[in-house]
Symmetry: C2
Subunit: 547 residues, 2 copies
């Protein structure tokens, strides 16, 4: 027997309709790529998103065809988020930090019909425009006076021309909520990138889960500044969550340096932000150097890679900004866990609370997780045993784009599918998960595992260390032993012996790195994560002094 | 093109599985009908719910068959919420405050296969047991030593016997999320009661929407005491929301008087509660008489009928308890609107904020609403124009149980269905809705509408008035004129003239009631609402002095 409730699909357009009807006058502020500050309201966003939906149809795009974007966090990108997905097309956010060859490969693999791009990326498009197999239109997301006079780009349009020419009357179509809405490729470190194809259902459910008090705790009273790019897992879903609650949105455009971000935080009364640790390093360097404080910021979401404990302490103790340590993946829309205290933990000591906060947190409702050993057997939640982390939930992928045949899941005895994250973690008795490593980064010393992340976190707490990466180096007796690669802070002259001494009492003796090497820079990937595979290449023949 | 996300249905059992895995040690505390305090954890709840699922199958109940309950808010009722719905059966909560004839009619209409009942209702079941057409089993929700020795009830079982005999191994079945989960009849004041058949999907989506910071703001750190009965629209969904966030739950059982509730609030550190205004009158009478304060309560949800402004003021100013004024209906699962401030309103004066709080609030995400005139034309959101309130959303019914042919909706020009609530309201430019009346209660004076609720709220702010109802009395010239029916506070000798003078300056002159009559009691319905239809009957031939 079926229930007798309204059959109303969970569609991305319903988020925009809600924001327009119930939060129409709330502001969306952008530091434009053009340089100035732009402000308008949800009502304006909705009107221009409808125009964009008409404009996309006018370009001949239809059905579930893909529309690529190469764009920063701006109101125009937001219009495409809603205009394209709302009309039933698939928004494909391209990562401009990738190599041009990879970019072309991804756009071709996705079958993009058009590429919308910011001024910043005009040279990149100039250089690659003739190489895309399926792209029929290029749209520069800028005012008309910024259009290049002589461009070799074929079928180049001005975004504002398209908007101006289109009608603002458009009825958002109603369709199956399982239809595809958006596409994002993982910045895979091995093999070709793989696409994750989100649905309207997964996007709306993810937004519901993310605004909860135990997750990102978002309300209409918030002003959200997503530093995490809209080309990186949909800015962790914030453009959707913002419409759901009617929060003010502040987009930083292309200016992601510490001073630019800080000015925007203060000028627009930002209450909550989100980004990867490396971004916050730039911001904190700026505030520390200039003796600044935050007047409206109440909390910041930190994810993408493990947040160094010292950063949590700085934000919370020095700046009174709550850190929401979070974990997720492109394959997970992305949110899986957020670190917020549970009932009963309010009375813990500050040190005990801090120990919890260094973990990536507990599963938000919708996500389930478990850790397993090499045979797939579930491991205990004791906070000590580490195993491969598997997850499941309605906003977690079951197969990659265009790879229906290759199921990405592992099935348990009850027939339920679980996605293997590639992360190694512990889970404590209260359900707080802590990433200890990536399955490919963990250092296997004499059959035992050493967490590269633990060693990096300790090293990065040393005042002379700017960044540290720990990789496995070959050892004739132990197979692998830890090699610590360190980038010093400017002016620091910290030595190998000082760093090794710094580990004293903080780890088991046999975890101590066998050697420390200093480098000028540690390579970062397109999403700001350390590229340990490159370091492994560099040091693949490194001979440890202990060998 | 479909998205490539996991196909995972939104099932009520998934709420319990989450609570068990991620909040297993969190407490559920009950003041039992037996009289003592019972405490256990979500892990215990999950174990006994699985046993109950097996026990229901052992009784021969299967598929989507209905299981009736006549029960207070207790852990056993919660076990049935999850055990029955989780196993795919339909939990049918019966309202014990109804007349026995109506109860039998409803159980027959629902086709209940079993009735589970609390000790309190043993006499009621003794008196009616042989009259149910479809009921095959009666289960007394009590310990074995409370079972009656000689009972005329056929097939009478002891709840604890069923639990003890059943295995605690049960795999929650996975099925279509649109399957029916639970059934609740409206306490219709005219005609036969009508059933609202909720689905697993509607229940889980409602829970997602209700925990958001702009709605009930529920987290794992809360201790929730639902005063609103579990037989009244699923205690406003709190038994589901609690599992979603892993909050502590405190069930008051049968003791809903002020002193009993107050003691439980204090003893168990309750942070949030929910109930109808009449319940809070009893509680506030107790705290005021005894000079008590609340040490842990942070907020309370008030709905079911409009909250008298004076009650909001008392809770907030005297007791520092935030009032979440809310509105919904049985047909809406029930939440439609909650009154929380929007961004930008934090800086309003206390008086301005208070004016907002007297409204029923703004739509939570998922619900859309509009007001229409007699021709169905949408009316402006100006805070003044009132019209019939229509709603839509995935947890709002589209037809009543067993009445598939009779569509309960009205369709707009875009083909979207809207449920006519029977309420009359205004909506202000910020989207805050205020109920001004029921379509059947509004007083039509010379073609203009007078809000009976506005007049009642003013009257109830008079210190000598315990309760006031305003109904239409016949008038030869104006068709209808307001008649105010007043129940004085004990010891009060307030007069008609004093009450009428109290309206001075608070309303338009022509809204002033034409007469005031005093009664010993105002009849309340099964859900604590004033039964104005009974008053209309009593005063149907009343001759106004102005006539």
């Amino acid at each position: 027997m079926f229930g007798q409730m309204m059959n109303q699909p969970l569609l991305i357009s319903s988020l925009l309709v809600h924001a327009e009807r119930h939060h129409g006058t709330r502001e969306i502020v952008t530091r434009r790529v053009e340089g100035d500050i732009h402000r308008y309201t949800y009502r304006d966003l909705a009107r221009r998103a409808r125009k964009m939906a008409n404009a996309l149809h006018a370009l001949g795009i239809e059905g579930s065809q893909r529309i690529g974007t190469l764009a920063w966090n701006t109101y125009r990108h937001m219009e495409l988020y809603y205009g394209a997905s709302g009309a039933g097309m698939v928004l494909h956010t391209l990562n401009p930090r990738l190599h041009p060859d990879q970019l072309v490969w991804i756009a071709d693999n996705a079958g993009d019909q058009a590429i919308f791009f910011d001024l910043t990326f005009l040279p990149l498009i100039e250089a690659t425009a003739t190489r895309y197999a399926t792209v029929k239109h290029f749209v520069l997301m800028a005012d008309r006076d910024r259009m290049p006079r002589d461009s070799t780009i074929p079928n180049l349009h001005c975004y504002e021309d398209l908007v101006e020419a289109a009608s603002d009357r458009f009825d958002w179509p109603q369709f199956d909520e399982n239809m595809a809405s958006s596409l994002c490729y993982t910045s895979g470190t091995t093999g070709n990138p793989k696409g994750v194809l989100y649905s309207h259902r997964s996007t709306v459910l993810h937004a519901y889960a993310s605004v909860a008090p135990d997750a990102l705790n978002l309300s209409s009273r918030d002003a959200i500044l997503p530093v995490v790019p809209m080309f990186h897992v949909n800015a962790w879903g914030l453009p959707y969550a913002a419409c759901m609650v009617g929060a003010k949105v502040v987009f930083p455009g292309a200016a992601l340096d510490g001073p630019a971000l800080y000015d925007l935080f203060e000028a627009e009364g930002v209450t909550v932000s989100a980004g990867v640790p490396t971004v916050w390093q730039g911001l904190l360097a700026h505030t520390e150097t200039n003796g600044l404080s935050f007047s409206s910021m109440r909390r910041t979401v930190i994810g993408g890679s493990a947040c160094p404990p010292v950063m949590i302490k700085t934000f919370e103790e020095k700046y009174n900004v709550q850190v929401l340590h979070a974990w997720g993946m492109t394959e997970m829309s992305p949110l899986g866990t957020v670190c917020t205290l549970k009932g009963g933990q309010e009375t813990l000591t500050d040190a005990e609370k801090f120990a919890i906060q260094t973990k990536q947190g507990r599963a938000i409702f919708g996500v389930d997780m478990k850790i397993v050993d090499a045979d797939g057997k579930e491991l205990p939640w004791d906070g000590k045993t580490s195993g491969e982390l598997l997850v499941r939930g309605p906003w977690i992928l079951d197969s990659y784009f265009n790879r229906h045949g290759e199921d990405a899941l592992r099935y348990d005895s009850a027939g339920l599918g679980w996605f293997p994250t590639g992360d190694v973690s512990t889970i404590d008795p209260d359900g707080f998960m802590q990433i200890t490593d990536r399955t490919k980064d963990v250092i296997k010393s004499g059959g035992e595992w050493i967490s590269s992340i633990d060693l990096e976190n300790i090293a990065m707490a040393h005042p002379g260390v700017a960044m540290a990466a720990c990789i496995a180096a070959h050892h004739p007796k132990w197979d692998e032993r830890p090699l610590l690669v360190v980038m010093r802070k400017p002016g620091s002259e910290v030595t190998k012996d000082e760093i090794l001494a710094f580990f004293d009492g903080k780890i088991a003796k046999w975890w101590l790195p066998d050697d420390v090497v200093f480098v000028d820079a540690i390579p970062l990937g397109a999403t700001g994560k350390m590229q340990k595979n490159k370091l492994r290449d560099t040091f693949k023949d490194y001979k440890l002094p202990t060998a």
